[in-house]
Amino acid sequence: MNTDDINLAYKIRHALDEQLDHLPASTVDRLAAARAAAMARKKPDAARFGFASGAGWRGIGAFLAGPTVSRLAIAVPLMALVIGMGGFYQHEQQQQLAALADIDAAVLADELPLTAYLDPGFNAYLESQQRQQ
């Protein structure tokens, strides 16, 4: 676009702006009401609800400042839950270790080399033995 076109575009813009001042009062009021409705439903600032912004810390502060009985009523079950989960995790780990040790022992005690199980012929032999039994 050349300079004349741009000048014309801005003159038209000026004319359109001039018309905005003559909008009916009812329309202007309705637009203001629409704006107010939009502002009332504005998306809340994410940081405002974040832990680091202070809401989370304020919650902990309020909890610590509360009565001793209510603090215990929450803290004891929480502690029990944490200890229980820790114990369960430890037990599961022990079970897994024991199972792995059994498998290792069985493999090491076997006379057959491990590569025998990879041989398709040996597998076919085992199956035929099982069928005969």
Binding site: D5, A15, L23, A32, K42
Partner: protein, 190 residues
């Protein structure tokens, strides 16, 4: 992130122009007000936490989408109306018979009649410009208004319209030439 004040100021700044944009598209003041309200609420609800610099582009995009939704709903509604009833079909075609000269005469008979001759002439000129902008093809009008009325740059306009920057330049150029030719044909010099 846009503060409440920034968002409020932004909406206050664009609301009248957005209303006129919607009127150009749908040609009904009531529907245009509903569209602008919907667009404002969508912007505040979904993008209220975006930086203030992104608001113009986002708002224009939402406004265009809301206008498109309006036309889709109207199409569906008209389909059902035409299926079940033959009444009231003439209502939507009233705009085709709209005579700018008749409306200008009516204006002269009321508020404008009290003003000076210059003011009447100025009012008529503004209305003719308004009419010519409304007559532009939709995409040309959108590009022209975003670039020169909403102060958006080429990249922002392209993002809001969902097209390339080259297309925006082409639409703007064609719109300006069309307006220049139309105003010249009516003897209007700006």
């Amino acid at each position: 992130m846009a503060t409440d004040k920034e968002l409020n100021d932004f909406l206050q700044n664009v609301e009248r122009r957005a209303f006129k944009q919607a009127v150009y598209a749908v040609r009904k003041d009531e529907s245009a007000l509903d569209i602008v309200q919907d667009a404002m609420i969508k912007l505040a609800e979904k993008y209220g936490d975006k930086p203030a610099a992104e608001l113009p582009m986002l708002f224009q995009r939402i406004l265009q989408t809301t206008i498109l939704d309006y036309f889709r709903r109207e199409k569906v509604r008209n389909t059902w109306v035409s299926l079940f009833s033959g009444f009231g079909r003439g209502d939507g075609n009233d705009d085709d018979d709209f005579d700018i000269l008749a409306s200008l005469e009516a204006e002269q008979g009321s508020a404008a009649a009290e003003s000076s001759a210059d003011q009447v002439e100025r009012t008529q000129t503004l209305r003719l410009i308004d009419d010519e902008v409304q007559k532009l093809p939709t995409r040309q009008r959108e590009a022209f208004l975003m670039r020169y009325w909403q102060d958006m740059d080429v990249a922002e306009t392209a993002a809001a319209m969902g097209c390339s920057e080259g297309s925006v330049k082409t639409h703007c150029s064609r719109a300006t030439h069309a307006l220049a030719a139309a105003l010249q044909a009516k003897g209007i010099t700006l």
